[in-house]
């Protein structure tokens, strides 16, 4: 059935912005099948065929977060479709889809109502049509499994019998949503839509794109951040079999370092074009380059951290509640600690790559991007194209983690394709990927607490110093709200509280990494809270619950309130699930941490053993998550496990160090990441409720590192204040 749908050619009669009714007819292209049929396109996202198949467009970039399955599930649910007769098609970049990006764990948050509205409108016209045909009241009808059902009589009409009638009706402006307790698809474990393709190697990632006449390419970039190409000798490179051309890439000829306010342009270097990826790689190895490093800072990691440390006393105030100095004088004791986290690379398994066919009339792009809009804007800026001259396809992406929010590698590719007049697939080596990342900012954080006689916090100061992802690339000025802002926990929970930021300029290219600022701040906050508990001989979870106080809405900024009750619930649940109160043998210990991010609440307990030689083995991780309604439990659980393992990997091993202005790491041998033999048992529970679904890609990550550090302390008495641990 599915394949016949593919072979049909669909002719659109009218175009629609969002939600307008379109009826379409199509031509049969399969001679054997002469039955006239019609696909009805009810909205840009929803098409229903006369054979009963429903085609849904998955509009967001799929980076492994499961969105290609989750968003169509929401549509299918609200529509009342039969999931077994749903075909999901990845959408190209199209402004009509709205919110078409992957970042900040926002996809479900932003699209929950959008998807439901689109589907409820179509359901509305199907119900109207059925009401006429069945002669029943609309209020007595519902949709289920691809049919309109009159439950009183049991009479049902499949969608396909209603299409002609329904497509004549106007879509309503206002819709009512299905009650969440009647959900049939949302909330059920659902295998991802690409599963069969993935396990048979048939999925075409961007790196697998092949076009007629296509030329392969790679790049060699100046390893020194912010450097340029001085001179180079390509005689030997050109002698490599298959090498076609060598092209210098200089961003000063393309508008400099920035495509947009938060969108970096490509890094200077040299591209090798060849008739295979391997020849291009070989050619790049044979290039003799004298790099230009004039005007660069030629930094070293030690020097960078020294500057961070000295900026702890030269700060701007990001939030001030009450008076921390008053608290300090009046209270019984003060305690302080300084924490440090390193630069981190993203290392998605699919290295940076892009394919561009830059023709006179159209610039056609296949890009593994989280941010197609930035890609479009980049092409407009570089080449003066109009939006209608750009077509961006969004193949499935082999991991992103924030790296592919930036589109530098697509700019490289477009320049090459335009220059050579042929389609070009550019593939970076893993070395280029690690050396030219937009790293997670390293930082130094100083925490100071004032405590009353019972050990409870009355004053809280959190100072963070780093180089900001908003000022790298020579952007001067105060970077408001980057790594610590007024929303940071525990704003609202402590009467005298102050957040401060110490800013350092650096050449190190910085960007967003999964969980962004919280990947660093939660490590300091929850390590510190556990330290405070232990200082007062209190159990860290007891202490934290006391710190939170009663379940209530805590005002933080403007209308934004923190639901302490939801956090308390996940903490209590994880305490129970992890057997927190049952003592462990000597040499083992448990650590706890929690966070709220993208509207979701997560609490985690890590259990470790530490031997006499300080070897750490992670035995088990327990996580309890309240993200509201869980759209697809199978995908959601995968996100939680993945986020935890990423947090643990980074805490154990993750570190990019800088020497003479260049990253010292270059491949997986020196940028270590967790492997099968190091993976603990992971237990995940979702809190069951009917609240609107919230983000899940990032929230499970931040608690992992402090929970691990706290567990190591419990097992060995050794306090980790500096990451990575090993």
């Amino acid at each position: 059935m599915k394949s016949t749908l593919d072979r049909r050619t669909f002719v659109k009669l009218t175009a629609s912005a969002s939600g307008a009714l379109i009826a379409g007819v199509y031509l049969q292209s399969c001679e054997s099948e002469m039955i006239p049929a019609a696909i009805h396109e009810f909205s840009p996202l929803i098409k229903i065929d006369t054979d009963g198949w429903v085609t849904l467009i998955a509009k967001n970039p799929e980076i492994g977060q499961g969105i290609k399955t989750a968003l169509p599930m929401i549509i299918a649910e609200e529509l009342g479709a039969d999931w077994d007769k749903v075909k999901v098609v990845q959408g190209d970049f199209d402004e009509a889809y709205e919110e078409q990006w992957a970042g900040g764990s926002y996809a479900i948050v932003l699209n929950w109502d959008l998807m439901r509205t689109a589907a409820a409108k179509v359901r509305h016209v199907l119900l109207q049509a059925a009401s006429k045909k069945m002669n029943k009241k609309v209020s007595e009808l519902s949709t289920i499994k691809g049919k309109v059902l009159h439950s009183k009589s049991g009479e049902a009409m499949p969608f396909e019998t209603l299409l002609h009638e329904a497509s004549k009706l106007p879509l309503p402006e206002e819709v009512e949503f299905k009650p969440t307790d009647s959900f049939e698809i949302v909330g059920k474990n659902t295998s991802q839509v690409d599963l069969q393709q993935l396990v048979t190697g048939k999925t075409k990632f961007s790196i697998d794109v092949k076009l007629p006449e296509m030329v392969y390419a790679t790049v060699l970039k100046n390893p020194v951040f912010e450097g340029g190409v001085g001179s180079f000798d390509d005689t030997e490179a050109r002698m490599v079999n298959g090498v076609i051309d060598i092209v210098e890439l200089d961003n000063t000829a393309y508008g400099g370092r920035l495509l947009g306010a938060n969108s970096p342009n490509f890094v200077n270097g040299i591209a090798v074009l060849a008739n295979s990826t391997w020849s291009a790689f070989q050619g790049a190895r044979k290039l003799e380059v004298v790099w230009d490093t004039s005007g660069t800072r030629k930094e070293n990691t030690d020097g960078i951290f020294e500057r961070f440390h000295s900026q702890l006393t030269n700060t701007t105030i990001e939030r001030k509640d009450g008076d921390i100095h008053r608290a300090r004088k009046a209270e019984a004791s003060n305690f302080e600690a300084v924490y440090q986290v390193p630069f981190l690379a993203h290392i998605p398994m699919e290295p940076m790559n892009c394919t561009v066919d830059f023709r006179a009339d159209l610039c056609e792009v296949w890009a593994p991007t989280q941010n197609p809009k930035a890609l479009q804007e980049g092409l407009i800026k570089l080449f003066g194209l109009k939006p209608e001259q750009i077509k961006i396809h969004l193949p499935r992406i082999g991991g992103a983690f924030g790296r592919r929010y930036y589109v530098d590698y697509a700019m490289d590719t477009a320049i090459l394709s335009k220059k050579i007049g042929k389609p070009v697939k550019l593939t970076w080596t893993r070395e280029e990927d690690i050396q030219h990342d937009w790293y997670r900012p390293a930082s130094v954080q100083k925490m100071v607490a004032s405590l009353d006689e019972s050990g409870m916090v009355t004053g809280w100061q959190h100072i963070l110093a780093n180089a900001s992802r908003k000022t790298c690339l020579g952007r001067e000025g105060r970077p408001a709200g980057t790594e610590i802002d007024e929303y940071e926990f525990p704003a609202g929970f402590v009467p005298d509280l102050q957040f401060e930021y110490g800013h350092v300029m650096s050449d190190v290219p910085l960007g967003q990494w999964r969980a962004v600022g919280l990947s660093a701040t939660v490590f300091a906050i929850h390590s510190f809270l556990s330290e405070l508990a232990i200082l007062h001989n209190m159990d860290p979870i007891d202490y934290f619950l006391k710190f939170l106080g009663p379940a209530r809405m805590v005002p933080v900024v403007g209308d934004y309130e923190f639901d302490a009750g939801r956090l308390i619930e996940v903490v209590q649940k994880v305490r129970h699930n992890s057997n927190w109160d049952i003592p462990l043998p000597k040499g083992q210990g448990r650590g706890f941490a929690a966070t709220k991010l993208s509207g979701s609440f997560v609490a985690e307990v890590v259990t470790v053993s530490v031997d006499e030689n300080e070897n750490v083995t992670i035995l088990r991780v327990d996580a309890v998550v309240d993200c509201g309604i869980v759209v697809n439990p199978s995908g959601a659980k995968a996100q939680v496990e993945g986020g935890i393992l990423e947090g643990l990997s980074a805490a154990l091993y993750g570190e990019v160090t800088v020497k003479n202005g260049a990253a010292e790491q270059s491949n997986f041998h020196d940028y270590r990441w967790i492997r099968m033999d190091e993976v603990p048992e992971i237990h995940v529970e979702f809190v069951a409720n009917n609240l609107p679904p919230r983000g899940l890609g990032e929230p499970p990550l931040p608690p992992a590192a402090p929970a691990l550090a706290n567990a190591i302390f419990a097992a060995s008495g050794k306090r980790i204040r500096k990451l990575p641990i090993l």
């Binding site: 599963l195 993935l198 048979t200």
Partner: protein, 154 residues
Amino acid sequence: MPSYTLTINAVKRTVSADPDTPLLWILRDTLGLTGTKYGCGKGICGTCTVHYNGNAVRSCALPITSVLEGNIVTIEGLSEKGNHSVQQAWMKLDVPQCGYCQSGQIMAAADLLSKNENPTDKDINVAMQGVLCRCGTYSRIRKAIHLAANKQNK
């Protein structure tokens, strides 16, 4: 350029290439068998794992001249209909996240199960430790290998 004949997924393929060209790029660029992936090019990540004469090998680290004698099997040829016990277990447990490493994972797991009908967790650690999954699908991979073993042994 010299030409070579390889046996890939039971089909003889003749290609011309430099003798030091790794099998990975012959598969991907020359033959269009893109299920085998590039991850590191240095034999460290396992994303490029294929079978050579029934053993899991890293195709990025094998020059074409070293694989002329025997049978090469890639993810595309692991089973006719995607119904190898490992692939079925992978589907049952919805293993992949981004999916990019999964061909390598599946080929490594199939190799393990062809030699060890009932691997322990330790055996799985040893056999799978060379294949990196950046997304962190390891727990499901482990479960899927046990599931495939149980099915095979029935």
